[in-house]
Amino acid sequence: MTAPAYNFAYLDEQTKRMIRRAILKAVAIPGYQVSFASREMPMPYGWGTGGVQVTAAVIGPDDVLKVIDQGADDTTNAVSIRAFFAKVADVATTTRTEEATIIQTRHRIPEAPLHEGQILVYQVPIPEPLRFLEPRETETRTLHALEEYGLVHVKLYEDIARHGHIATTYAYPVMVEGRYVMDPSPIPKFDNPKMDHSPALQLFGAGREKRIYAIPPYAQVVSLDFEDHPFEVQTFADPCALCGATGVYLDEVILDDRGGRMFVCSDTDYCEGRRGEAEA
């Protein structure tokens, strides 16, 4: 083979610089959505084009990449993005949370605590937390600029009025560093507390919507709520059916068509790690 037809990590250097500038700005203004010139990627919108571009901009030859989709390392999206970077950047990949330097994720934050030096890259479908109540982009930008966040509480109010409790279970709005209200991407609200004062850098990329935002390490992230209806995470009655873990986020797996089901860790690496330890 001759020289590859594409640059390291697929994107050309100018594009990566453009994305890095957006990332730097995003880190400097925690929770603020920075627009960037999102590129066409060799995958459809909705499959993580924003996350892939952010990863491509920050990845280096020495990085170790982990990709998860709904907590799992072995689902289509995770496997293909991991293979993509193994091919175009020739980086080492892993499924172990502790070993990874960059973790691209869709819909979950790993159970194992993150540490300094790690970067968590989220794939974001709709970056605007106010979008469902205010369709105009000009207006939502003004609301962010003037810190007029009453609308977020209107949404939470509606939840309580209709369901008796805050029924939003994912993409639960947070306030970052006491300034910007941010959509944490469709992670379960179970993961929201992990964002607060996390030692890892958290980057969010929305490819179709052309927005990048970030939570720097050790930034304050507060889930919004009412005084008489405080924020709560999901709880599960039973431990993981495979590894017995409690206090983790579980997926429901349907076993047959007669109502059989089991609840297992959504974080496959965490579950495998625990089972490995138990055998040893």
């Binding site: 003037l146 007029e148 009025a161 009412f226 005084e227 008489d228 209806h229």
Partner: protein, 258 residues
Amino acid sequence: MSDVPILVAEGVTKHYGARLGCRDVGFELWPGEVLAVVGESGSGKTTLLNCLSARLRPTTGSIRYRMRDGAMRDLYTLEEAERRRLMRTDWGFVHQNPADGLRMTVSAGANVGERLMALGERHYGHIRDTALSWLERVEVATDRIDDDPRGFSGGMRQRLQIARNLVTRPRLVFMDEPTGGLDVSVQARLLDLLRGLVGELGMAVVIVTHDLAVARLLSDRMLVMKDGRVVESGLTDRVLDDPHAPYTQLLVSSILQA
């Protein structure tokens, strides 16, 4: 009534390119006073109202408002943040079409509570109690608090819009044909309600209407507009019973006597 005006308009003129919206309108509005702006359609009433309510910058002229701290401020030199805060706390705006002033996809309770939440109220129970008491005051059945206004009749929507605006006890409310499009009996009840609330809360109101009966019932003073200019102004009863300007005479005489 206090001895300083709450709103002072001077020489308000608005051109839309070559066309005239309104020209050289000036008046003073006093706390607790209801001012009606009447005239036929196209006479510049709504343009004037939009200028007064900081929604449309006039081409020339000034509009000054007395803030809660007593300082007179020119509306169009306020920071955007200040202007918006004014709009959702100290002011109300009742649109002719309730759908323009309501959030149609959220419940009645959230519509009433939105301003409170915007002001930082973070206690669900308090917000709900306030919403319930306001629904009661505007005669919307309290068991409709969790229904969204799409399922409400025109009259109910309009009453809900009024509650949503008055929940922060504004000092100045703008109304653009608040009874337009409602049938006569619903209109009468709404007017009754408005008159009661205006008296009770002591707010100043600028109401735009083409319906002289509405002006007669609600307002203390009125401006009569024609072709963008004020042709006559004065106490409502004086203007309607003893119109001086030829146009006002025409307007008054064109009402069908029941």
